[in-house]
Structures are given as C-alpha cells and as structure tokens.
Symmetry: C2
Subunit: 272 residues, 2 copies
C-alpha cells in the first residue's frame, strides 16, 4: 500500500500556495473524461486548497460546487474567502479559474472527521454486491473507451454485473449502478479521495440507455466519516428525470460498513 | 384564491433594490421557529432577490445555502454577484447579512421552469397519504408550540397520522414524516413558495423522539417544475444519522403528481 500523501492521487491534487487566500494547481490530463477534466477530481483539488487554510479543519463536511464551464488540463488559479470561522468548523467560498475565466464556484464547511462523536444510527443499508472478483472490471473496457475517458485508468473500478448491462448494449432501464472503487495504485482512500470517487462512475443515465455526456450543473457532497482502509462500495441512482435534467445520488460505503459519503448532483440530460 | 403576488407570502419575501447588485428586505417575526427566522423562508427571500436580477431567469433551478448564523426578524442586507450568465441560465452568488454580520451565503443557478422541455421519466413515486381531511392539522398544536414556532401558522399543514405519532409522544422511530402543505391564506404555490415548504415541516428527528432544535448547516434545493395549483404533498426522511449530524431529504409533489422540488440538508443533531 502507498501512503496517501505520496500517491498518484495526492500528486495530482496538490496545490501550491501563492498568497493568504490563493493557490495554483496543475490539472492532470489523466483525469479527463469526454474532453474535460472530471468534476469529482476538481472537487478534490478544491478540497486540498481548503484543507491548507486551517490545520484544525482538514475535512470538507459538506461542499457544494457549481460548474460554470469545462476545465482543461494545465494550470488553474484558486482563490478562497472566509465566510465564517468557528471553534470546530469553518465555512469558505472557493473559486477555480483558468486563463481568467471562472470554471468552478463552490462553498464548503470544513471540520475534522476524526474528532466527531462516534454515534451511528444510520438506517440506510450498504449496496448488495458480488465480491470485486465477481464484478466487471472497467479495466476491460475497449481502448476507444479508455482513450475517451482516461479517468477510468486512475481507479480499480468494478461494476455489479446486474447494473453493467450497458457495457454490452443491455442497459437495465432502472437508472441504477453499483460497484467497487479504489485508487489504481492501491492507496487507501482518504476523505478527499472520496470526493473524486463520488463523481467517478459512469453516469447513471448509461443504465437508461443514454450514452452521451451529461454535464453536471451542481454537486453537493457530504463527508460523514473517515473511510476505513480497503475497497469503497458505491451505489448510484436517479429518480427524477424531467425537464431536460436529472438528479444523480451517490452513496459511498467503506470496508467497515460505514456510509462515509453522500452526494447529489443536478445534471443536464445527455443530448441524443 | 389570492394571487401569489399579493399574498402574505409575497409581502413577507419582498425585496427592495438598493443598487445594481444589492437589496434589502424585512424579515417577518411570523416566520420564526425556536427563536430564529426559518431557513426555508430565508431561501425564498434570497430567491426574490435572484429573480429580480434577470427577467429571463425567474426560477432557481438549484440553490445551495450555507447557514452561518441565526437570522433575526427585521432588516436584512442582500448582495449578489454574477458567476456566469448564459442564454437560458445564470449562476449567481448571494449573501445575506444583518448588522454587518453574514447570516447566509448561497449560490444558485437560475432559469425558467416554464420554458423547460416537457419530458418526464421520473421513477420516484409520490407519498401514499390519507386525504388532507384525514390527516392531523398542525393548527391543532398547543398554544405553547405555536408560540415557539409562529412559522406553522403561515401554512395549512396536515401530517400523515402514521408519521405524526411524535405529537402525542409516540414517535415511530423510522425517521420519516409525510403530509400536505399550502399557504395559510389559500394562495396557490409558486416556485419560491416551494423553497419555504422544503424546510417548513417539523424536523424529521421528531419521528426519532429527538425534539430539540436541529440547526441546518447546509441545504441544497432543486426546483424541477412549475407547481400546479392546490395542495403540495411532502415526504421527509433521514437515512444517515452519525457523528453528531444527520441528512434530511424532502420531496415535494404537486396536485398533478409531479415531483416539483427535492432538497437535502445537513444538520447538527439536536442536543438532548
């Protein structure tokens, strides 16, 4: 196992401080899908900058991102502003821009997942999944697919065969996907990696037979616990497809059976 | 029926423009609960200011709000900033402050619900509810409760008896509430009223026997269609109670059976 701080993921999300409230980062071409840098990866980059603001609040408890335009590989400028700093949490605004054009505007409340009380009364149940060995490895995707979505090579991602019918032209029509994910280099997940995992899976619209690109308008993620080492299991689903848009929910569960992250995004329906 | 523009709700959420990007509003004491102005009502006030920015984009398609501190009745200062304006949507930042202290920071993407394509492939099902006449009217609450939560008198709100056991000391323990809601003066709902409805019901924690105040950290709402006239039915639930926090989802359905609004909030658990 690689330590998270020296992993491919940590290098790809590293930020360099340029002022009290400003940073730069280098967006990697390997995190692109359909020509643009992945939105979950951008959340993790934003998370790295927010983490650098205050050592007492390293983790986004909640982060909401509005995607204003596609992000390209290469340099990105990051500016932050304090909304309110309290004893155990801090709320911040953060904007990413490239060549002077804003690409992302976000807000987050940061805290320390390791310092939360240990009560758990969660009623949600983890996804029922075959073992990773019995799932469909996305590494088996065609070279064409990998070329269009180099992002998928950053992960070891396994899809539940019951929800991966789209890969062989037989979407289930339920609007659900399930699977396993971990970083390709074997690094155990940390909270910021969870932000990338939340938007890493194929769009749930694939399971409805809609294969085109679905641009995210907004994504809000809650991080609720430090993930245990090992595989993360994921469940994605949409329940409201209407008016040219759809919502997509993602839940991430760790190897200890904790619901560690939840997200909901609003996206435009793919154009057919 | 009162026209929405002359209703109690419209008067209570009215904003006055003070500059290109600034407004003031008067927060009404009647919209308080547990000593602070209700968060859903504040969302509607923010929505009124955002609506005034561009006549082509009157409706929040998605709005994310971070609650930085409690809001009091009385004057509030509102400032907006353009994140990106496109052909059919515009994204904005908006901040509310009282006496120089920020109380809310939000972002929204505005659009025109009336101009969306009319496709509907929603798989979610509306709540199964007895008729409003067979439900428990919140107007029957004790005078003490109404005094602590004058907000509830702004609505005609009826709770599903199966989920209203908390009112007679018998919470179901499922973490679910269902019911009907409309404005007390009989005005039909508009999109901005939906924002208030999303946070108007008793906290879902009541159904778990936790009766204290649960402060919202963040709330994101999606508005997905113009509501038809008449009652709105609502379903609220929590599935992840852990680490001193819980998420609360709310769905609002109109009288035509459309899922018109969805929200998720992250809140701190009530202190026992």
């Amino acid at each position: 196992m690689t330590d998270i701080t020296s992993s491919e993921f940590a290098r790809a999300t590293a930020v360099e401080r340029t002022g009290d409230h400003s940073f730069t980062a280098e967006l990697g071409a390997g995190w692109k899908v359909a020509g643009a840098v992945n939105g979950g990866y951008l959340l993790s980059v934003a998370g790295q900058a927010l983490r650098a603001l205050n050592p007492n609040t390293p983790d986004p408890l909640v982060i909401s991102t509005y995607y204003l335009g596609p992000s390209k590989e290469g340099s990105v400028d990051i500016t932050t502003r304090v909304l309110r700093e309290g004893r155990s949490t801090g709320s911040y605004g953060i904007e990413l821009s490239q060549n002077g054009s804003p690409t992302i505007s976000a807000m987050a409340t940061m805290g320390n997942l390791g310092a939360l009380p240990d009560d758990v009364a969660t009623t949600a149940a983890p996804p029922q999944l075959p073992s990773p060995e019995e799932c469909v490895s996305v590494a088996e995707a065609s070279e064409d697919f990998k070329k269009a979505a180099p992002l998928i090579e950053r992960f070891d991602m396994r899809l539940d065969p019951a929800a991966a019918g789209f890969a062989v032209g037989k979407p289930s029509g339920r609007g659900e996907l399930q699977g396993w994910i971990r970083l390709a280099d074997g690094t155990d997940p940390d909270p910021l990696a969870l932000l990338t995992f939340l938007d890493a899976f194929p769009p749930v619209m694939f399971d409805l037979g809609r294969f085109n690109w679905a641009p995210t308008m907004e994504l809000t993620a809650h991080l609720r616990a430090q993930p245990a080492p090992g595989w993360i299991s994921a469940k994605l689903y949409t329940r409201n497809i209407a008016g040219g848009m759809f919502e997509e929910d993602c839940e991430l569960w760790d190897s200890a059976g904790r619901l560690v992250a939840q997200s909901r995004q609003l996206a435009r329906q793919p154009r057919d």
